[in-house]
């Protein structure tokens, strides 16, 4: 099942690539069909986890190649628990929606667009499923080329620069991780995710710390965290908006996923030692992102800084090392994936209608495009985490964890971020939807039925999962699983409080 899921986007890309140019018109329906099949596959994996109360799925390891100069053999082995499964759902749903909504802006070159998007999706699946550290790293790096290609060929006026910036940042950021992997292979003779934690435990603290920070840097750039966020605003605003939805909704999650799946479980002692400063960095990122978002005049840049703020809080939640807060992080990742995805996709519509992203050139859309306005408003409400949306449940658990582990002062500080997020979001709503309609775009446009089909499910998911977060929590929390110890020993999924203290 997992093999099929991982292979499916690559197969889809191949199928689209094999469509002769003569039949280019079928590329769009075909890609929607393939995207839907992949989405269904990802849901099957989730429902598998739900029916087995969170017991993970794994494949038989298959020795792939030997790392020269070390005793380590890289294995092709896949692993999926609730976290992986939900991240895959996020990636597949957003890919499908992005393909759907982007068609009107891409048109002729759609086949190439779809191929790259599917390749990116495949790399995302690989990241979320890999159980060998080197395998993970290869997929992690494989994310960059298709994304850069999409930005460089379909982006805005500054697309080339943005693509290079994006590639440079992420590749430089992950270079130390490559070194760390090599060092792990040399020192311990294994790169298997289930064994590294035990193997490095005997190493001196300084060495483990170096490894920890090499991993952390790669994920801090990807997420991003302050001060590694330089690529983000420019990339998000230059990339075609459909791609930005995937970048911010799914790819940025690889960063936080990396912290949860790799950095913390592999080096729990170091994580515990540096938990407070990194969590504070997360909170600082949140405040910084929110404040800068207050001053943005471009929708996509505003949303980029909003993403920065949300994921900053998610990282802070990871480093509380507190079980319920980490559950909250997973919920928040899903919530932000859907809400940011829906926001970017919605933002792409007025962008297409009036060829601008400048907030001040919109206005009065509530009167002119009422259905679009309602969807936009509801998405904004979900984005500022009003209960009972999923974002609220995530934020509630994270803030509670921050209060428990770091005290009221830090919780208060992180809570200020919630006020600021309302401030910049309402400013956006006010400028886009309310007030007098500006004269710049005379003909009122409205969202089409097809676009609604692509976007509304994302919004509905935010409410449905917010009312019933147990659909997610049941699959990720080993504490509610049938056999928690089996999960813990099979794979260092999350540090439990007991092992850390």
């Amino acid at each position: 099942m997992l093999h099929l899921l991982l292979a499916s986007p690559f197969i889809a890309a191949l199928i689209i690539a094999l469509v002769p140019a003569k039949f280019s018109r079928i590329a769009f329906p075909l890609s929607l069909l393939l995207g839907s099949i992949i989405t269904i596959l990802s849901f099957i994996v989730v429902s598998n986890g739900a029916s087995s109360n969170g017991a993970p799925m794994a494949t038989e390891p298959f020795a792939w190649f030997h790392i020269p100069g070390t005793a380590a053999t890289v294995q092709y082995a896949l692993f999926s628990d609730g976290l992986s499964a939900w991240m895959n759902v996020l990636a597949s749903v957003l890919t499908l929606s992005a393909l759907w909504v982007s068609f009107s802006s891409v048109r002729e070159r759609f086949a190439m667009f779809a191929i790259s998007v599917f390749l990116m999706q495949g790399a995302l699946f690989g990241c979320f499923l890999a159980s060998d550290a080197v395998l993970f790293f290869l997929f992690f790096e494989a994310l960059v080329p298709p994304a850069a290609l999409l930005i460089a060929s379909f982006g805005g006026p500054g697309r080339k620069r943005a693509a290079i910036l994006f590639a440079a940042f992420t590749l430089i950021g992950s270079a130390p991780m490559a070194v760390a992997l090599w060092a792990i292979a040399t020192w311990t003779g294994t790169t298997d995710g289930t064994q590294i934690a035990h193997a490095v435990a005997s190493l001196p603290f300084v060495k483990v710390s170096l490894l920890f920070f090499a991993f952390a840097l790669a994920f801090a750039v990807k997420t991003p965290l302050l001060p590694f966020h330089g690529w983000q605003a420019e990339t998000y605003s230059e990339a075609p908006t459909g791609v930005t939805a995937i970048l911010s909704g799914a790819m940025a999650k690889v960063g936080v996923f990396g912290f949860l799946r790799w950095t913390i479980p592999l080096f729990p002692q170091v994580a515990l030692h540096y938990a407070l400063p990194i969590a504070l960095l997360g909170v600082a990122t949140m405040i910084y992102g929110s404040l800068v978002a207050l001053r943005q005049h471009d929708i996509k840049r505003l949303l980029a800084f909003s993403s920065l703020a949300h994921l900053g809080l998610a990282v802070a939640g990871c480093f509380t090392l507190y079980q319920s807060a980490i559950d909250g992080v997973v919920l928040m990742l899903i919530a932000h994936g859907f809400s940011a995805g829906a926001m970017f996709l919605l933002a792409s519509l007025p962008e297409r209608w009036s060829k601008t992203c400048n907030i001040s050139s919109f206005g009065g859309m509530a009167g002119r495009s009422p259905i679009f306005a309602v969807l936009f408003l509801v998405t904004c409400i979900a984005a500022v985490a009003v209960p009972p949306t999923l974002g609220f449940v995530g934020e509630f658990l994270i803030l509670q964890g921050i209060w428990q582990t770091m005290g009221p002062e830090i919780a208060l500080l992180a809570g200020l971020g919630a006020i600021l997020s309302a401030a910049y979001t309402l400013r956006l709503v006010q400028a886009m939807l309310f007030g007098k309609a500006s004269n710049e775009h005379e003909a009122a446009k409205e969202i089409s039925i097809g676009e609604m089909f692509a976007i509304v499910p994302l919004i509905v998911a935010l409410f449905v999962l917010g009312v019933a977060p147990s659909a997610v929590l049941r699959t990720i929390d080993p504490a509610v699983g049938k056999n928690p110890t089996a999960v813990a020993t099979a794979y260092p999924e999350k540090p439990s409080d007991a092992t850390l203290r």
Binding site: A148, L149, A163, I164, Q404, Q430
Partner: protein
């Protein structure tokens, strides 16, 4: 006595269903020239709140005093040690709240059908009102703090949507944003309060009944006296912080006068009768916690008194009829918190109850005046309307005698009881009482001023407008009459001086009895109730006469905006300047971060970008470079370099 019920979930569901249906109709007709049929949508809009009221009344009649119903519908958040349920609790406090919320809610929805007639957003408005009632019912019916918080943010959201209902005016949007943000600031306090309780009592900290048991459990006395003391104070402080925003108390009160930008039925329902009183509800609901921290109780009393006085003085300067009533609401809420802070939680809730009647009457009456005068809200352009609008005048008189406390009216009984309890409070009771009595005089002055300016003397506005002035349709008249009669008679549910007329107090004693005994201590003999009644009446009459003498002679001339002028402006909006102390540094910080720090980052990345472009250009000359190849090369190169460096090191 708690018994299980299987029907409580229907209560919030009814208006939610109404909201969903109306919302769907509004969306489906959003591109039509005209909106949906007002008769049908109006019927639907009133139907669901009315059904909720009937169900509430039915349950209340079935249930004896002191008994409660509980239903846990489903788990909501289950993570590690945290369990939050969708659970409902129908006890003596929530039944009182629900009766007047659904009752007055239905009446005001009916009134809106007349008031909003012909507005293009008619159906949308009704959908918002139903959504509001859903949130409000959830707020008071929830059996735990987190679900109450859902309602708490929900009512804030609906308030935002309804204040900015006429969204083409940018000023309305600004008022709506302000309301949402100030309330968000309060919501943070609420959340932190929940966290403090979760730390204090563990899983029991969230549920009302469990927390109550936990606080009264002798086994926990040691924790409460020792390390738990700080957490009790923190929890009480943060929860009250939440209340100051929702109930417009110092310092988070400036949003409420601005909120008058919304349609008048909204002001009556949300910003007078129901939502703004949820702070008093929360303090009463958590009374067992609050009484454990005398310092916070004193703070509540002083904040309440300060707000009551400040808003009463501000009310004197207002020329906009809705602003007068808005400041009056803030002031009356102050009275309620004063009572709660003095440990008289039941008197506070009784005042919430009577206030809901007379303030809704006043707002709806004012709405009727505004409706008749084609949108005119400026008191200086009114005058002599008693003859033009005799029924509206009579309705407003009912509300007016009630709020200033003429004996026998609802406002008289509740304010009298409240002041007596304040006088008998152990901490500075006498001082607080005299200050509150002085505020009652001010109340009579500004309310009489409003009545005199609107209905006495000569008409000062545009004759053209007066010629078209008319009484409202029955949909507006009927709710006004019911509420007006309520503001005369509702007080007899707890008329202190009439033996046996204490149904209200008996009902609440199961909820707040223990807490009040802790707060007030042993009963002691004060002056007789008669003395308080005489003093209270004297305050009303003195204020009334003073105001009548002054404002029949000195009528402000209708020049300029109806906002307060000169010193009055500074005085009434002083708290906006206080908020600016927070907002300006935030803006400044945002500016610094954006223009300086972010620019630095961008300069840095430009340098990197330039470097990367140069390198890639070089590479392109070497290779027939597609981007993919470049990237592949750079990955390979980084790996190689890294391996080489590490090989040297180790």
């Amino acid at each position: 006595m708690i018994s299980q019920s299987n029907y409580l979930w229907i209560l919030p569901l009814l208006p939610l269903l109404g909201s969903a249906i109306l919302g769907a109709i509004a969306l489906a007709t959003s591109h039509h020239e005209k909106g949906a049929n007002e008769h049908r949508t109006g019927f639907l809009a009133v139907l669901f709140p009315a059904l909720a009221f009937i169900l509430t009344a039915f349950l209340s009649l079935q249930l004896e005093i002191g008994h409660s119903l509980r239903q846990v519908v489903a788990p909501w958040i289950v993570a590690d040690a945290i369990t939050v349920n969708f659970g409902f609790l129908f006890d003596d406090l929530s039944r009182i709240m629900l009766l007047f919320i659904t009752g007055i809610g239905s009446l005001i929805t009916l009134y809106s059908v007349g008031y909003m007639h012909g507005d293009r957003g008619f159906t949308r408005f009704m959908a918002y009102l139903n959504l509001f009632l859903f949130s409000m019912i959830t707020l008071v019916l929830a059996d735990n703090l987190v679900l109450t918080f859902l309602g708490w943010e929900g009512v804030g959201l609906c308030s935002y949507l309804l204040i900015g209902f006429w969204h083409k005016e940018a000023a309305n949007g600004a008022a709506a944003n302000k309301a949402f943000l100030v309330n968000r600031a309060g919501d943070l306090g609420f959340l932190l309060g929940i966290f403090a309780l979760m730390t204090l009592a563990g899983p029991a900290g969230i549920s009302y009944t469990e927390l109550r048991e936990w606080l009264h459990n002798p086994l926990n006395a040691e924790i409460l006296a020792g390390q738990g003391q700080v957490l009790v104070v923190l929890a009480a402080f943060f929860l009250f912080w939440g209340c100051t925003a929702k109930s417009a108390q110092i310092p988070l009160l400036t949003w409420l006068p601005d909120a008058m930008a919304g349609p008048t039925p909204v002001s009556a329902l949300i910003h007078a009768a129901t939502m703004v009183t949820s702070g008093v509800y929360l303090v009463t609901r958590m009374s067992d916690l609050f009484v454990l921290s005398p310092a916070i109780m004193h703070m509540i009393a002083f904040v309440g008194l300060g707000t009551a006085m400040w808003a009463a003085i501000s009310g004197l300067f207002q020329d906009d009829i809705k602003k007068v009533l808005a400041y009056s609401t803030v002031s009356q809420l102050g009275f309620m918190f004063l009572a709660a802070g003095c440990g008289a939680f039941d008197a506070a809730i009784f005042h919430v109850f009577t206030h809901a009647f007379f303030k809704a009457t006043l707002f709806l009456g004012a709405g009727s005046v505004i409706h008749a005068l084609a949108g005119e809200q400026d008191l200086r352009k009114m005058g002599g309307l008693a003859k033009t609008l005799p029924r509206t005048f009579l309705i407003l008189v009912f509300g007016w005698v009630s709020i200033i406390g003429i004996p026998g009216t609802a406002g008289f009984w509740s304010k009298d009881l409240l002041l007596e309890r304040v006088y008998n409070a152990p901490f500075m009771g006498h001082t607080l009482y005299y200050a509150a009595l002085a505020t009652a005089v001010l109340t009579a002055i500004y309310m009489t001023r409003m009545m005199v300016l609107a209905f006495m003397g000569k008409y000062r506005g545009d004759e053209h407008v007066k010629a078209h002035a008319h009484e409202s349709p029955w949909t507006m008249q009927l709710p006004m009459w019911i509420l007006a009669i309520g503001s005369l008679l509702a007080g007899f549910l707890w008329a202190g001086m009439i033996p046996g007329a204490d149904l209200f107090g008996r009902t609440l004693s199961s909820i707040v009895g223990d807490a009040q005994r802790i707060a007030v201590g042993a009963e002691h003999e004060g002056p007789s109730a008669f003395v308080f009644a005489v003093l209270g009446t004297a305050a009303a009459v003195i204020g009334l006469l003073t105001s009548f003498i002054i404002f029949t002679k000195f009528v402000p001339s209708p020049v300029g905006l109806p906002a307060p002028r000169g010193f009055g402006k500074v005085w009434t909006f002083a708290f906006d300047s206080l908020h600016a102390l927070f907002i300006k540094p935030t803006r400044a910080l945002a500016w610094v971060l954006q223009t300086i720090v972010q620019s630095l980052f961008e300069a840095l990345q430009n340098a990197i970008g330039l470097f990367a472009i140069q390198t890639s250009d070089l590479l392109r000359k070497l290779q027939s470079g597609s981007i993919r190849l470049q990237l592949g090369l750079s990955v390979g190169l980084t790996l190689l370099i890294a391996v080489a460096i590490l090989g040297r090191l180790f």
